[in-house]
Every structure is written in C-alpha cells, then in structure tokens.
C-alpha cells in the first residue's frame, strides 16, 4: 500500500470510528461467513453470488489495485471437459475486480499444453477479453528463482507476472488427480511457477503446501460448476465430468479446498496436503466448524 493511501485510509477510518464506534464492537457489521457457496445454472451468476456472500469484491480489491487472476488453464481442452476453469467464472471475477476499482486485471497461467492453445480452447482468452482484462503468457524472461521459505521447497522459479500484484485471486477448478487425489486451489499454484515442475511430484503434497503458503491469495474462488471426477487432471470425455453447478469463495484457501474435497466424497483430512496445511496453520479444514453461507439462485 502506498504511504499516501495509508494516511488517507487511517484518516477515513479514524473519522468513521469517531462517528460510529459500534463498527469495531462488531455489532453493526455481522461477522462474515468463512465460505460463500452459490449453486445455480449460470456459472457467471453463481460466481458473483459466492463472492457477494463473503462480503463482495470490494472487501478484497481496493481502488487502483493491480490484480492478478490465476485460473487453471493447464490443458488444451474445451470447458465441457472440465480440465480448465470455467471461462464464465473467470469473466465474472475480472468484472468484479474492475468494478471494485482495480487499475489492471491480469489473467495468467503456466500451462501444460501449448499456452496459446490452452488460452483459446478453454474459452478463457475470449472471456477475459470481453470482460476487459489482460491475458499474459508466461515469459521465461519474467521468471525468477526466489526463496519460498517453505518447509521442503526452499526456492523455486516463480512467475513474476503472477506475484507482482497488489492482490492475487486464485480461481482453480475442482478435478480428480491420481497423485493428490484432488486438485483444487492450493495445487493450482503449480501454474504460478516455472522450472522443472514435474519433479515436484516426488513430494507433491509438501510442494503444494509450501507454494500455497508462498502465494497467499487474497481470495480463492473454486469452480465446481462442472468437476472432473476421473481421468484427471485433464479428462477427455464429458463422461469423465459431473455437473455440480457450484462455486465456492473464501479467504481461507484451505477451507475452500476442504469444501472442494467434499464434492469428491473425500473427507478433507484424507487429502494429505490439506492435512498438512492445517498442521502448518494455513487454514481450517473442519467444515462442520465453519460458517458457510450457502445460496441457491
């Protein structure tokens, strides 16, 4: 945050407290839910609804922010294959970020298949263009080996265009994965790095947790509109997918993923990286204990 903005915010906050001391006492503003879950036939509408349920985008994006939206665009697959994040979900988030006053909204992923094919066939390039965001390819000139401070992953090649942002929004899709069991939000950060990513599979759960701790998104929005239940993480047939018509939004990345695991009839503690995330204090995975605002539209 810039110094000027900080002074302004302190001044505004101070004035607000002067006239409405109840704000801090927590009476005027009811506690926001941990997770916003919206169900419905339109992926676009339920995305906006899920974000609204946890306080709206203005809670996360301030005027003038540089926002990066990180979907999963890993594969050269169309949306009905559920291998990449639903383009309508991405579109809704780009729009919300812009409405909240973002200076720029960049959408980027380090894809597995050829980047351009993935961007186009996933429908995300077109959706982002319509919403007025910018899509960037991962540029090897803009990759830097950085210290991650992870427990296992000490340093790795990081895509600078992902982290050089005021706010990062993670937009994974819920998919089957034969090593991690499920790939959700935390695993999505393998698309924010470069280098020999395939070697991380040898200790994938530790890597996932270390990366999730490093990237620290302001918001995680999980696309479970159509989930991939077998042949993950890229499927290939519509019969590999299941329609769930759900979007989950939350600040706590572990909690969002815990909710995501439930779509696969998995208890969160049965997903190793979620268990590790909880042990590391990255978030909560006790779904019963969470305040979840579930909406249907």
């Amino acid at each position: 945050m810039k110094r000027r903005a900080f002074i302004r915010d302190v001044a505004v906050g101070g004035l607000a407290l002067r006239w409405a001391p109840g704000l801090l006492a927590g009476q005027a503003a009811p506690a926001l839910p941990h997770l916003g879950v919206a169900e419905g036939a339109s992926p676009y509408a339920i995305t906006k609804e899920a974000v609204a349920a946890i306080g709206g985008m203005s809670r996360f994006v301030a005027r003038g922010d540089k926002v990066v939206v990180k979907p999963n665009i890993g594969w050269d697959r169309t949306p009905e294959m559920a291998a990449c994040t639903n383009p309508e979900v991405v579109k809704a988030l780009v729009e919300l970020a812009q409405e909240a006053g973002a200076k720029s909204v960049i959408v980027i992923d380090n894809t597995t298949n050829q980047a351009r094919r993935c961007y186009i066939r996933s429908g995300i390039q077109e959706a982002v263009k319509q919403a007025g965001g910018t899509m960037l390819f991962v540029d090897e000139h803009r990759v830097k080996k950085m210290s991650l401070g992870g427990e296992w992953l000490k340093e790795w090649d990081i895509v600078l265009d992902v982290i050089e942002a005021d706010k990062i929004i993670n937009v994974p899709i819920a998919k089957h994965h034969s090593l991690c069991r499920v790939t959700l939000g935390m695993k999505n950060w393998l698309g924010g790095i470069s280098g020999a990513r395939n070697q991380l599979h040898q200790r994938i759960d530790e890597a996932v947790v270390d990366l999730a701790a490093f990237f620290k998104p302001a918001l995680t929005v999980l696309d479970a509109y159509r989930i991939l239940v077998r042949n993950g993480p890229q499927g290939g047939r519509i019969s590999d997918t299941e329609l769930r018509e759900t979007v989950v939004a939350g600040v706590d990345a572990a909690a969002v993923d815990a909710m995501g695991a439930s779509f696969f009839e998995l208890a969160p503690q049965d997903v190793p990286y979620l268990r590790m995330a909880r042990e590391r204090g990255l978030g909560r995975i006790d779904l019963e204990g969470l305040n979840i605002d579930k909406r249907k539209i």
Partner: protein, 521 residues
Amino acid sequence: MASQAGFFALFLYLLIGARYTGEDYIGSTVQRFFHFDPLLALVTIVSARVLVASFAFALVTVVATVLLGRVFCGWVCPLGSVHQFASFAFKRTKFLRPPKEESASLAWKYFILFAVLAGALLGLNLAGYLDPFSFLARSLSTAVFPILAQGLSSLNGVIYGLGLVSVGRSVSHFLENWSLNATFVQGFAIGLMFLGALALNARKERFWCRYLCPAGALLGLLSRVNLFKLRIDPGKCIECGLCTQHCQTQAQPFPNDKWKSGECVYCETCAAICPTAAIGFPAGAAAEKTTNVSNVDLSRRKVLLSTFLGLFAVPFFRLTPFRDRASPKLIRPPGSLAEAGFLAKCVKCGQCMRACPTNGLQPALAEAGPEGLWTPVLVPKIGYCEYYCSLCTQVCPTGAIKELTIEEKGEVKIGTAWVRKERCIPYVLGKPCIVCEEHCPVSPKAIKLVDVEAHLADGRVVVQKGPVVDIELCIGCGICENKCPVMDDPAIFVTSVGETRSEKNRLLLELLPGTPDDASR
C-alpha cells in the same frame, strides 16, 4: 522490382501463416505456392505415380512459360528474388564484379534436372533438395525464423533488464503469437546451406538460378514461343556490352542473335542499363525454330550421363537398412502415408515443422535413410504431438501427409510408448511421480498406474504407483516422454512400432481390424 517484392512478401506472409492461428483449421496457406511449381508437380506425380489434383495450378506456370518464357523466375520466384537481392548487395559492395563476358557453362542445372527426373521415374523424389520453394521454405522455417526469434528474444532480455516491461511483453507475445519460438536440430546445417547459396552470389550473379536450379531448368526447356523477344535496335546500339555484362542470368542479350531465350528471366536489366535505350522486348509472333536452350551446350552424352546418374542415385539414396525394417525413432506426423509413399511425395519443404505448435516435428537426419533427409520426424523429447491439432496435415503441399480433421487424427496411432523401468522414478527410487499418466491425453488413459515394488539401495522395499502402458489405447503422441522428469533420457519413450500407417511395423496381430484374437478361436 515490385512484382518480386510482392511475391516474396506474399510467400513470407503465407509461410508465417502456417501456424496455430487460434483456429483449428487454418485454411490454405503457403502450400498453394508449391502447387504452381511445375518441377514439384512433375516429380511428385511421377515418383508417387498418382495425380495430385492441386498440382493442376502448375499448368498455369507451364502455359505462361511456353508463351512468355521464364517470367516465373524473374517476376515470381521468391528464392530468385532473394538471390537477386543478394547479388545486388554483392555488386554494390564490389564483392562481385561481373566480367565483360561470362563463359561458365549454364548446363549444370539441366543435368541436375535430368538426374532428378530420372530418379523420379524409379520413385525417388529428389526435387526437395534444390527446388526453390522447398529450399526457401525449409531454410526460413528451420533456420532463418529461429535465428531472428532467438536474436529478438535475447534482445528482449536486455529490454526487460532496462525495466521496459510492457515493451518486453509485446515482443514476447509477438514471438508466441506468430509461433516463432522454435528451434530445429538441423537448423544450423540448413542455415549454413542457405547462407552458402546466398554467398555463391558473390561469385556469379544469381548463381543458383543460372547453374543450379532444376525448376529454372525445367522452365528453360519449356520456354518455346517467347512472345516477347529481345530486340536490339542496331541503329542505337553502341556495342558497349553493358547489357551482357550485367545480365542477371547470363542470357547474353548482345549480340542479339546470341540471346538465350531459355535463360532470360525477363528482368529487363539489360533494357534498363542500356545507355542508348536500344533494347526492347517487342511482341514477335513467330515461334523460334529452336529455343536457344540449344545455345547451352547440352551434349547428348552429358544428358545421358546425368540421366544415368539419376538412376544410379536411386539405390544410392536408399542405402539404409531401415527400408526393410522400421526405424524405431522414425515417428512420422499423423496422416503420413506408408513410408515408401511418403518418401515418394515428401518434398522436404518443412512446412509441417513450421506448423507444429510444440516444435516436435524436426528435420530427419538419418532416421529415414539418405532419401528421407529433412523429412519430418517427431522427436518427443523436443515436442509432442498435440492431441487436438492436425495443422501439419493441413499444410503439406503434396499429400505426403494426408489431410485429417482433428477427429480423424485422434484415431491415428503414430507410435507406442514404452516404460523404461530401470530409469523410472517409482520403479527405481520408490518415489511418487505419475507425471506421464497425468499428461496422457486419451480417455481412458493409455498409461495406467499399478503398485510397483522398488528395491532401494539401502535394502528397503517400497511400494509405489508406477506407470504401465496400455498399448491399445496409446496413440504415440509422446507427451509422456516430453514431460517425464528424467530429463536426459526419459524413463518413458515412444517408438514407431504400431503406427497406423504401416502394415509391417506392427506389434500384435490382434490389433489388426477383423482378426479374431486367440481367446475366441
């Protein structure tokens, strides 16, 4: 001149267009140029013994040449333009000082042509080595574009270093969007040949066109009528000899009766350089008795000898054990004809390599024998065959790669993947990996995971999920090999066995359609 610049620009534009544009079907691109080339048409049709409809366009060139002479060489051919420009540069820099009179024999290109045609009679397609379109497309695709792109990319490092992020991004996006980020194993060698061909212009103006080009030779033989004939006005001519000295193709405008119409490419340099404007090309309806090809010394013995050499070239170019038994590394693009038919048609233009989005298609060196030099081969370690892509099949000018829809392509098997257990991480190190399985694009996956025991060096036995290939599902795309974390020599690799196009290179008879398997017998 404008026409040459225009055609060169068109060629370049169409060749750059042979890439993933964002559309699955990119429509006709640069291969149309090739369809106007009578040499490629003739050699391909003769060597493959099949009429290729698209080559009907070559008749346009044939008719134009019969009536007008080698205007194709002087006005259209993009490689001719490159040579002309190089010659111009060498003349300007005085590297090239054309002599008053040139006596070098023009016959070589005709002998090359006869050898190529003789080879075609026996099914050997040699056109691709020296055909101007093949030569230029191959050189640009595998050498010139990559050189420029790498240079630009290095420059981009500097641009980013200066903090000009948005400029750097534009450059990177340009390279990505125009599919220029490709390198080829033989790019250096092919680039050297291209530079060599350019350098020859320092010796003789348009060296290639004068002495080497078999397509030019064919057009020279075809130029019979030449409606517009060179005429020197004897009243104006001061016999300075400038026209002959600066004739690009050694067609000898002066003296008038020595003019070789079969060598003239109608560049009209002579008319332009003539100090007294004595030279013109008036329409002369009468056909010549013989074209002045006869002024080029094509003795019967030499013609016979070059034809013989062409026939001799057939077994020579086929000196490889892999004609009888498939080469494991010879993974052809999907839609490729069976090897003999493929080699008869492929003209080594490299457009499939240009179009390949993963850079996996590479010019062959020895995989297909000498005959198959520079023909396309998939090298999975460099790039894999993208599942929803059939671009290489769409740009092939001769049909060596049959055009396929993406659905059809999905049915084609180009090879089979094999797990090398002694290098595979779960099998050897007892650590999880599954990278190959994760990337396998077919559904259900051709790579299955099974529990495997790893006997570690410390005596422990670890059970881990390891890959096993279901060869009936595997299409040989090679993404498993490409993404395998064992970097130097991947623990899973693809060989050509089981490829749809071959009846011989098979693995199991059960895979033949209609063959009852053992169990049901």
